[in-house]
């Protein structure tokens, strides 16, 4: 089935929040902290502005607790006398003229008495920088299996390595924005978001309004990638406060520069590996330390850390594993969800380390992985027995085959021996991604969904899960239609309006197709039964039964319902971090081929092969698009997306200076799927959305290492950094340096 809303998007008819007609509204804008930490000693309003024309909101206007509800109650809606990061919201202004409110924001001076800011998560904080607990550690986590110290002590070979990943900015092409207005006594907030019920909860909490007096509606969302998971709650609250104070509708749209500087980014990470192996390359011990920068508020850092450590040991069998994780408080703009959610960071380290191990002990990186990739019956770091029947070696073999890996190795050797300035190489990464919320998380969400039978015999899917480009509307339509034997035209997907749809959970964690799709299937079955049919009824019989039901029950709604049920046999202990972390893992092998220009140390990806096993591919065009998009985000993160910091805030907050790949920067991404239906995923599918961004960065750096002899350990691997590495090696006279001829 073609993407359902494609034509609306292609013709520009799809309306995003800033496209909606709105009468008599005010433009809202935010006044922010200029300093990373300190007490707000004064707020000075410029004399050149007639402030009586403006709506001004500060923390005193907040009816309920001054907290943006998420995991911990630590982040204020508006700073109340104390700020913890640059760009922290302090005041809100609104005016009918956008230019006027821009000028007004410039005319407010927030004076902060500076205090010592913690700005480097990698070093232990000085006493005067402690602002969270006794040591600025937001969260500690640990995974243990076997006896890693003893195993390391006895290992014939031990290889250590330290790896770093930088922050990444989402650059969704539609910036964040909200509209808030009162409809009678009900506050209605519409906007760009991934999780209407997260926004609802935050509004209810801080505005002290119960569910009958707040409604949240997701508008078509121009990209999210996790950046619109938790942050929209802030903007929703800001717009709402201005709307409540003024009695007028308020629209609050972030400029690109503001969006880049003031909203969340991917957590920077530092990962240390100490790996014990036999001489022929079998893993005997993995000791891994993961540290992430959480920024100035807790937001989702504990959960990002959790996923990071669960994936840190890679898709390999090893009997002795210890993974410790720390999320650090700093005075940086808080970091948040971004596609992959910790797994890209820890798997960058793990997969780059595999190649460092291979080079150190003189073994082929492919053979190293072949020896260690999980076979059915073996256990992960958390002790989860993998028994899904996926041939993980076949996934890797397919990637090697499609990329002509062995032939290319020979070609590259010849090319590199003779070319004066270019070097080529291929790199491999094998990795995995657990879909859905970790451990007991899906149970805790208590997701519910409905499929309504319409009077005309068609059905409407009522869920809180949204379309942000990944194909929700299309896949939901296909699943409902397939289950009931209906045509796609007979299926509508309700707008994600908390006034109408149940809470089927957030659109995150690669759960939408696999888990929420499963709820659609079961709710459709339930609908069928309520319409008086047995489970085998399909097509015209279903339509007619629904129509007949409505004739017999005029004016009444007909719903099928489903609530999330954990698949049998999944056992997870949140205290010990042991057991079945996820119901299903998707498995992948990616190969990147690069060409490095030794004159400029620029790396070009000239070929990319992405092979994955994701259960069942429900819609090939959509699935391929997810992989290609994730790969290109990974290429950007690996090579060119660099956040430059000043006082913990992004200094290069413009698309001119924070570079994402253009069409000219990436090759065609060649995609292949292997299938192994997952019995508990809708249509046999496993989650797919985040997997593709876990693999590209290590594959690319492994390729650069093969091509040049450099040993990069950090991303982004900019040309400047690669040149430093290569020149540094040349100075020391390292064996593997490839000299310019």
């Amino acid at each position: 089935m073609k993407r359902r809303e494609a034509l609306a998007k292609l013709t520009g008819r799809e309306r995003y929040v800033d496209d909606l007609p709105l009468e008599g509204f005010l433009w809202g804008m935010t006044v922010r902290s200029p300093a990373p930490r300190g007490r707000v000693t004064a707020i000075r309003f410029g004399k050149d502005v007639d402030w009586s024309q403006f709506v001004v909101v500060d923390h005193r206007d907040i009816p309920g607790p001054n907290v943006v509800a998420l995991i911990e109650e630590d982040q204020p809606v508006l700073a109340a006398g104390y700020v913890r990061h640059v760009h922290e919201p302090v005041l809100l202004l609104a005016h009918p003229s956008r230019e006027a409110v821009r000028r007004a924001v410039r005319s407010v001076e927030v004076v902060v008495g500076p205090e010592p800011a913690a700005l480097d998560f990698r070093v232990p904080p000085a006493p005067e920088q402690i602002q969270y607990g006794s040591d600025n550690v937001i969260k500690h986590l640990k995974i243990e299996k076997g006896d890693v110290e003893r195993a390391l002590a006895g290992a014939p070979v031990v290889v250590a390595g330290t790896y770093e990943t930088g922050a990444q900015e989402h650059v969704y092409l539609e910036t964040q924005g909200m509209i808030a207005q009162l409809e009678g006594d009900v506050l209605v907030v519409k906007g760009s978001m991934q999780c209407p019920y997260y926004v609802l909860k935050a509004l209810q909490h801080a505005l002290a309004r119960d569910a009958t007096r707040v409604r949240v509606i997701q508008t078509p969302t121009g990209g999210g990638f996790g950046g619109k998971e938790e942050f929209p709650s802030h903007i929703a609250l800001h717009a709402a406060l201005l709307a409540l104070k003024s009695g007028r509708p308020v629209k609050l749209i972030y400029d690109r520069g503001e969006d880049m500087a003031a909203t969340t980014k991917r957590h920077p990470a530092l990962v240390r590996h100490r790996t014990g192996l036999t001489r022929d390359g079998r893993l005997v011990a993995q000791d891994i330390e993961v540290v992430i920068d959480g920024g100035a508020y807790v937001t989702l850092s504990p959960v990002v850390l959790s996923r990071a450590i669960i994936h840190a040991a890679g898709p390999y069998a090893c009997e002795h594993v210890r993974i410790t994780g720390r999320a650090m408080f700093t005075n940086a703009v808080p970091f948040g969800a971004f596609r992959g959610f910790g797994a890209p960071q820890s798997q960058f380290a793990g997969e780059r380390h595999m190649d460092v191990i291979a080079a150190t002990i003189g073994i082929d990186p492919v053979e190293l992985r072949r020896s260690n990739l999980l076979r059915d019956g073996q256990t992960t770091a958390t002790g989860q027995v993998i028994r899904d029947g996926t041939d993980r070696l076949a996934v890797m073999e397919r990637a090697l085959e499609l990329s002509s890996y062995r032939d290319k190795q020979r070609e590259h050797a010849a090319f590199n021996a003779t070319h004066p300035t270019l070097r080529r190489g291929s790199g491999l990464a094998t990795f995995y991604h657990g879909a859905g919320f970790t451990g007991g998380g899906e149970v805790a969400l208590q997701s519910r969904l409905r499929v309504a039978g319409r009077p005309d015999g068609g059905v409407e899917v009522l869920s809180a899960n949204i379309e942000m480009g990944q194909g929700t509307l299309t896949v939901f339509t296909e699943l409902a239609a397939a289950r009931l034997g209906l045509a796609p035209e007979d299926v509508t997907i309700a707008e994600a309006d908390t006034g109408r749809v149940p809470n089927s959970g957030p659109t995150v964690a690669s759960r939408t197709t696999m888990i929420v799709g499963g709820l659609i299937e079961r709710a459709a079955d339930d609908l069928r039964r309520r319409a008086g049919l047995d489970d085998s009824a399909r097509g015209a019989a279903v339509k007619q039964s629904i129509q007949r039901w409505h004739r017999e029950h005029p004016g009444e709604p007909l719903f099928g319902e489903a609530a999330y049920e954990k698949p049998p046999g999944i056992v997870w202990d949140d205290q010990t971090y042991r057991g079945d972390a996820y119901g299903a893992f998707a498995w992948a092998a990616y190969v990147a081929e690069v060409e490095v220009d030794l004159r400029t140390c620029t790396t070009r990806v000239i070929d990319f092969v992405a092979v994955q096993e994701v259960g069942k591919v429900l819609n090939p065009t959509l699935a391929k698009g997810q992989v290609q998009g994730g790969v290109v985000q990974g290429i950007g993160w690996a090579l060119m997306e660099e956040c430059k910091w000043r006082d913990g805030a992004m200094a290069n907050n413009q698309l001119t200076n924070y570079l994402i790949p253009t069409s000219a920067d990436v090759p065609p991404v060649r995609v292949a799927f292997l299938e192994n239906p997952y019995p508990h995923g809708a249509g046999g599918a496993k989650g797919l959305g985040e997997l593709p961004i876990d693999g590209p960065a290590p594959a690319i750096l492994n390729a650069v290492a093969r091509a040049t002899g450099a040993e990069p350990r950090a991303i982004p691997l900019t040309p400047e950094k690669l040149m430093e590495l290569l020149d540094g090696q040349a100075k020391v006279g390292a064996q593997n340096a490839a000299p310019l001829r």
Partner: protein, 276 residues
Amino acid sequence: MNVLLPASLPEALNQLASDATAVPMAGGTDLLVHWPVRLEAHERTYVDLSRLDSLKPLRWTEDELTLGGLTTYWDVILDARARAELPLLVDAARQVGAIQIQARGTWAGNIVNASPAADGVPVLMAYDAVVVLESRSGREEVPLDRFYAGYKQMKRRTDQLVVGIRIPRRRYTYQVFEKIGARRAQAIAKVGLAVTCSGAGWRVVAASVAPTIRRCPAVERLLEAGIPIASPEALLPAIAQDVAPIDDIRSSADYRTRVMARVLYHDLRDFWGKRA
């Protein structure tokens, strides 16, 4: 904000003469960047050049190509003779932003924006371009390699408009343009190099490695004199005489210097040690 809409070149020149703060507006691809948040820019007076049709065309004569004051990058990309005779113009134009910028950006605008990272200026300078300035008091011509006095300082009075860029037609025995950016399109140059060789001698022009785009006379002398150069490192002393790169948000001085040395060394491998 004030906008003046002259219908003719004399009218525009009068307006520029009457108001020393007035800013000529050509394609807008520099002046309108981040327009909504650059509130100070809204306080100025602009002179809209878009109706001055006489400035749009480029013109070939027997001896030269003259780009008009409003000739765009795309105009040159489409010109078959430019591709054949002055290919660096086309190379540079194709690496300016992307089509949306090439369709609106003007060569003259690039010159008077005076960015040290400009894309059009290096190749114009390597082709010995001459800037033609017009004002109410008359015409003035300034060779482009003498047009810049310092960072964002140029030999244009506020009452002058660039109405043409004259480029001599010559036989070139060697020419190359290299733009080293952080990605392959829509990038600001970290290092830009334009090198030509003709009967008039060697021209080596560098961008993003000094407060202005400039010729590199010490490097040119090495080429003219046929000094053998055995490695990129051997170029460093001459480069140090000619340019002064800095660390900035895009790159580092060290990187820029090394890249300039390596690119020049490799591009000109057939020429080091041979007199012109």
